[in-house]
């Protein structure tokens, strides 16, 4: 089955009852499909009913009379190629409207783009009077939409004014808009006017988008979000103003956002914490849209994607590198930018290569390393939102270190020559870049001088702690293997321990048990159909009750920290166990029956006092560290 839309999914699921079905998906997700379909197909893939090849395209289909099946399908996958023997190939590639026929009816299409849909009015009337276009032909694929719209059209034809089904919902949302008088269409038009980003949406796409969003009217001076917050929604500024604080140490250095602009897009792309604080100005009116909705929009409307990408680029350059640079120069810089994708462990540039440009990490992260005496010494770790390779902008010396992608990474490369020209014109920019470069060299030298420290860091990084925000470590010279940490975890979490103390690697008495690292870029989060995995404001990655037990997160986690199980509602009584034996709190088997849901460490965010494992360790062997504290730990300043 080739295709990832609703039709492909429904066909695949139906056929899999009596056939072996393989579904070929051009992308990495099924986000064009309805939620229910997406959940179903993911479940089928999970249980093995249907096999799925993601990120593939078909290179050839050929008949194989001698082969095991009638034909074989050759694919180009993300990693290489694959060959699948098949009996049938069914393509559900979506439909394009029969443009020629529709045009011959006199209906005008707004552009030559084969994907474009005919322009219709708010009551679905085309430019041909009396000809109404609803449903898929108008760009609304869902049956419910076609039915609702059809009903509305008939009512209109009959002369009765009808309100669209979503009008009351939108009215409620727009109530917060200043100056809103109750006319939804009016408000929509005004929003479209004010937001160039949304200008390319059809009225109905806009309604869909706004249905999922919220209107916010913060007071002047209120922080819309703060730096290092873990929120991930997208904000469109309708009116008033907002300020981005670009210097965390100096809150007076700000960039103003004007109405019609948007912000918060960094978290969309890279899934990391907010890089800057944004403060509301006078009369600030915002539309806050959740991440999924915005992603969906980006994927459906090419113009939106383009605008967001461009803005991201400009902003990244402006905030990271070129503050105070005139917009025209910025545009020139942005024009020289190219986007590159790297798989995990792919090298961006090697030590000794000529310096070609500066790399701004858009999503993912990279490791900077050096070869010292034949060993790879990790010098630094650069996450998304920061840049690397600035040396090329300053001098002509070849690269002094190798930079490798730690996980799947997207980087924007700014051409060195263009940047150098801009730096000539802005001396303070050059100074800033030099200053950062010097501090980087200093810390690199420090790192290479102490390779043992690097050994522990290297070990910790390989355990994925480079992307951890908070991880449990155990000092095995103190650990008496009493398993109290596991019992504490289980006892406070429905008798299902999220910690496996014994499993996990050890390096020089430093043991990393199997437990969630609360990664900066959680692998588990990216594939959760009910969106049950969230990051709490304190930074903990937790799985909410919405979990349906599909197990994607368990598979996606490279550290194996997620397990599926059923939580008990009742906690066994401690005194009864002490006196008479039986179920030990935190140790017994769960007698509950039910669907197994995903469970992993949530840093005991609901329990006062902090992580139960650390509090319960009698000898003090368990400790939770965040990456800043690694250095202390790895300095050999273990004291037991």
């Amino acid at each position: 089955m080739v295709g990832a839309g609703d039709a492909a999914i429904e066909n695949a699921i139906a056929l899999s009852a009596a056939n072996q079905v393989t579904i070929i998906n051009r992308g990495a997700e099924f986000n064009r499909a309805k939620d229910a379909n997406e959940a179903d197909i993911l479940k089928a893939i999970d249980t093995g009913k249907i096999r799925c090849y993601y990120n593939c395209s078909i290179s050839e289909a050929r008949l194989t009379p001698q082969g095991p099946r009638l034909a074989e399908l050759a694919l180009k996958t993300a990693e290489g190629t694959a060959v699948i023997p098949v009996d049938r190939v069914i393509a559900r590639l979506g439909a394009t409207p029969p443009r020629a026929f529709v045009e011959s009816c006199g209906v005008q299409f707004p552009s030559k783009d084969p994907n474009s849909v005919p322009a219709v009015s708010g009551v679905y009337e085309s430019n041909v009077p009396g000809l109404y276009i609803v449903g898929a032909l108008a760009g609304f694929p869902l049956i419910k939409q076609a039915m609702n719209q059809g009903y509305e059209v008939i009512e209109t034809i009959e002369g009765r004014k009808i309100e669209p089904a979503d009008a009351p919902l939108l009215r409620a949302k727009f109530a917060a808009l200043p100056g809103f008088k109750g006319d939804v269409d009016d408000a929509l038009a005004s929003i479209k006017d004010r937001m160039p980003l949304l200008a390319s949406l059809t009225a109905l796409q806009l309604r869909e988008f706004l249905l999922d969003s919220n209107v916010r009217v913060p007071k002047k001076g209120e922080a819309i979000f703060k730096r290092n917050d873990y929120s991930d929604s997208f904000y469109s500024l309708l009116g008033g103003g907002a300020q981005i604080e670009i210097d965390p140490d100096d809150s007076t250095k700000r960039i103003a956002i004007k109405p019609g602009e948007f912000f918060g897009e960094m978290s969309l792309i890279s899934g990391r914490r907010r890089t800057h604080t944004v403060i509301a100005d006078e009369a600030c009116v915002l539309v806050e849209s959740p991440r999924r909705t915005t992603l969906k929009l980006i994927n459906s409307v090419a113009a939106v994607r383009r605008i967001i990408d461009e803005t991201f680029l400009l902003r990244a350059i402006e905030t990271q590198l070129a503050k105070g640079v005139a917009p025209a120069d910025l545009k020139m810089l942005a024009g020289s930018a190219t986007v590159h994708s790297y798989d995990a462990n792919q090298v961006l540039f090697k030590e000794g290569d000529p310096g070609d440009g500066l790399y701004l990490i858009r999503s993912g992260s990279v490791m900077v390393s050096h070869t010292v005496g034949g060993r790879e010494v990790v010098l630094a770790y650069v996450p998304a939102g920061q840049y690397i390779g600035e040396m090329a902008l300053i001098s002509d010396t070849p690269r002094t270190a190798t930079v490798k992608a730690a996980v799947r990474t997207e980087a924007i490369r700014l051409d060195g020559a263009v940047f150098a020209k801009v730096m000539e014109r802005y001396p303070q920019l050059a100074r800033r870049v030099r200053k950062i470069h010097r501090s980087r060299i200093a810390s690199n030298v420090e790192q290479s001088v102490e390779p043992e420290r690097s050994g522990v860091i290297s070990f910790l990084m390989k355990q994925g702690l480079g992307e951890a925000t908070d991880v449990l470590l155990i000092d095995e010279s103190l650990c008496v293997r009493c398993d109290q940490c596991e019992k504490a975890c289980a006892s406070t979490h429905g008798n299902l321990s999220r910690l496996d103390r014994e499993a996990g690697p050890t390096y020089d008495n430093l043991h990393v048990p199997t437990s969630c690292r609360h990664c900066e870029h959680p692998h588990c989060m990216k594939d959760c159909p009910p969106d049950a995995i969230r990051r709490s404001p304190g930074g903990e990655v937790y799985i909410s009750d919405a979990c349906i037990g599909c197990g994607n997160c368990q598979r996606n986690c490279p550290y194996g920290v997620i397990q599926m199980g059923v939580e008990s509602k009742k906690e066994p009584s401690l005194w009864r166990w002490m006196m008479f034996g039986g179920d030990e709190p935190g140790h017994g088997d769960s007698h509950e029956k039910g669907i197994k849901k995903a469970a992993k460490c949530d840093m005991c965010k609901n329990i006062s006092g902090g992580p139960a494992c650390v509090r319960a360790c009698p000898t003090g062997a368990a400790l939770r560290v965040s990456p800043e504290k690694f250095l202390k730990v790895s300095h050999g300043r273990w004291e037991s």
Partner: protein
């Protein structure tokens, strides 16, 4: 440099509880030295009552560790702090309790409580040593594997050794199978603490020797034959074939010896691991029941002393 990231329970809070324990001991000794009651020091003087109350309070608090460490939600402080207090104040109890008795002992429940207290504390001292010395040894021995992984690896080695032995001869195959059956891991209390008896040690050594000898013979044979080869060219084909077979056999034997050697080392490591774990926990089987007996004796002591005041 800044303060270290974490410290163990003995150093907790810069030895806070060690300091408190030492002060308590010093104060008790001082007061005992200067206090001179009419009929000699005993538990019924004001100092005796004071030390007795402190001692009883300490015993109750120390016993409470068993509950506190299993209260995973809430609870005062960290368990590490409780354990640190438990260790140091428990040691101070030796002084406080002994001074409370005024060195008056007899065959009664009062001395029983005192003796039980001393035995509990002594077993605790062993526990301190065990907790300080054994964890590192366990880690060094484990080499990063879990116990289940070691056992699975042993099963794997067993399987492989059978597979290789099958390619050799049925005698060797039987011997290997017997040897597998005679491997002893863990066992009862004594076996866990001191290592299980090895019932087939002799047989295993014999098997090893036999295989070594055979391998050597084959190697020698090969060399001898390669010399003879040049002179007896007409049976060269036969010799070459046999050499091939012998080569195989020698290789298999070497492989088998390798596997057996690894298995022996692994079994030894597993049993060492079991021993260390056992020695780290054995004292608790004395410490905990006697604490309960101590609590009963303490209760009886307090009641009887004031019943017949």
């Amino acid at each position: 440099m800044e303060t270290p990231a974490h410290v163990g329970f003995l150093r907790h809070h810069r030895y806070r509880y060690l300091k408190i324990g030492l002060i308590l001991c010093a104060l008790s000794l001082l007061l005992y030295a200067i206090h001179d009651p009419v009929d000699g020091p005993n538990g019924g003087t004001w100092l005796g009552y004071g030390l007795g109350s402190i001692g009883a309070g300490l015993i109750l608090m120390l016993s409470w560790l068993g509950i506190r460490k299993r209260r995973y939600r809430g609870g005062l402080g960290q368990v590490k702090g409780w354990l640190s207090a438990h260790v140091y104040l428990g040691l101070a109890l030796v002084i406080v309790g002994t001074l409370h008795t005024g060195f008056q002992f007899g065959w009664n429940v009062h001395t029983l409580a005192y003796v039980l207290m001393l035995v509990v504390i002594t077993s605790g001292v062993y526990g301190i040593w065990a907790y300080a010395a054994l964890p590192e040894r366990i880690t060094a021995l484990r080499r990063g594997q879990t116990r289940d992984a070691m056992l699975a690896e042993m099963a794997e080695l067993n399987r492989q050794s059978i597979a290789v032995a099958q390619a050799l001869s049925s005698d060797i195959h039987r011997a290997i199978a017997r040897s597998i059956g005679r491997v002893r891991i863990g066992g009862g209390v004594i076996a866990q603490l001191f290592g299980p008896a090895e019932p087939a040690r002799q047989e295993f050594d014999d098997l090893n020797r036999t295989l070594n000898v055979r391998a050597d013979t084959l190697m020698a044979g090969q060399r001898a034959e390669s010399e003879a080869e040049s002179t007896v060219m007409f049976i060269a084909g036969q010799i070459v074939k046999r050499a091939g077979r012998d080569e195989d056999e020698a290789a298999h034997i070497r492989q088998l010896l390798d596997i057996l050697g690894r298995r022996k080392e692994l079994v030894w490591r597993i049993n060492q691991d079991i021993q260390l774990h056992g020695r780290m926990q054995i004292w608790l089987y004395l410490h905990v029941p006697l604490t309960l007996a101590l609590l009963a004796a303490l209760l009886t002591h307090v009641i009887s002393v004031f019943l017949y005041w």
